[in-house]
Symmetry: C2
Subunit: 218 residues, 2 copies
């Protein structure tokens, strides 16, 4: 057997107040013409995470991105050819880092496109389930993970951070309460720098203090 198993990768980013996920339009049976998570076979001599990084690199031009394993799917009926074992991952990338990336076209896929996570069509295989899993995991771990900061530039405003919380939680938050809570966490560094290039009052920039974060959660 040339190919042993596959990895699929939900690639999330954040842009214009929305959480987005990158999907491929398949050009191959089964599910030709359907949208699906990026994914491909893991080479025989390749580590699984390497394969995920390879796929993410082809789609984003980025290496060593933030990854979390979501689940292994092995249903006998997932694929008409028989069981194809797939390990699903979730990746988080900064929109600024990927916005100019040319979208890949291969034999296998016709195009790649960012979808608002709330406007995802019916996907190939069990990919809608996996998306749900990813969103649920993001939400559940929100307060213990650096996920929000993986979606933001290194220096960010509190409004941007709040928008990410809102997108992940699927609800709006009160500005004053959010800011109070964030500053009580103790792992945000307030910088003496401000936003530039906006036509209104520039907001203060913040950074994640990784040291303090790790101290709290390890």
């Amino acid at each position: 057997m040339l190919s042993f198993f596959t990895v699929d990768c939900l690639i999330f980013t954040f842009h214009e107040g929305k959480l987005k996920v990158l999907l491929n339009e398949r050009n191959e049976y089964p599910y030709r013409d359907w949208w699906a998570m990026p994914g491909y076979f893991v080479d025989k001599q390749e580590e699984m995470e390497q394969a995920v990084n390879r796929i993410a690199y082809e789609h984003t031009g980025l290496k060593n991105i933030y990854l979390e394993q979501l689940a292994a799917m092995a249903g006998l009926k997932r694929h008409p050819e028989g069981r194809i074992l797939t390990v699903a991952y979730m990746a988080l990338v900064r929109y600024d880092d990927v916005k100019n990336k040319v979208k890949p076209v291969t034999n296998y896929m016709r195009q790649a496109k960012w979808f608002d996570v709330n406007e995802v069509p019916e996907l190939a295989f069990d990919h809608n389930d996996i998306l749900k899993l990813g969103l649920k995991k993001l939400k559940r771990n929100l307060n213990y993970s650096t996920a929000p900061f993986e979606l933001l530039p290194e220096k960010f405003t509190l409004t941007q951070l709040q928008q990410i919380y809102e997108a992940i939680l699927g609800e709006t938050l009160d500005k004053r309460n959010f800011r109070k809570r964030m500053s009580n966490l103790g792992y945000l560094k307030e910088l003496d720098e401000y936003q530039t290039g906006v036509s209104y009052r520039a907001a203060r920039l913040y950074k994640l203090d990784k040291r303090k974060f790790l101290k709290l959660f390890t």
Copy 2:
């Protein structure tokens, strides 16, 4: 290839105030003589969860037990023969249901034994990591999952429930505060029944109200 991939299963139970995990003493290379999680190959025509249930059944005599998928491990160097893809699960069983089960002996394993999760030796493969993962997941999801109730008989006392919380969290809790918190959750049914067979004041029994629980967490 006769065997495609394996599943491993952490089987947890709760007994005498301790969280326990069932381990096998291996009788096969690699890691002969080491303790390891129960696990075995998934048959070609067998669903993955079926395989986990089969393994759990061999060890506990129970069918349709509570299962959660933990992780897929696929390192090229996990096994001297090359990559063996393994999907790790965690199962929760009631001690009353398994205490009389005869422990399996096969070609592959010499014996099975319950270990206090805090007294687990160095295990085969990456099984210590998987155990850590399982314990972490139990802890993190404690307040959103029925896990504690999967470890208890249908009718239980608040002291038993508290002991499970303490074992999972790894810390002691205040009795009065714990009871207050539990009754505020709203999904515990207070029964008009009491413990029997104890030589001291019998405690009131409680039940999980699954309907109310589901309403809160779905």
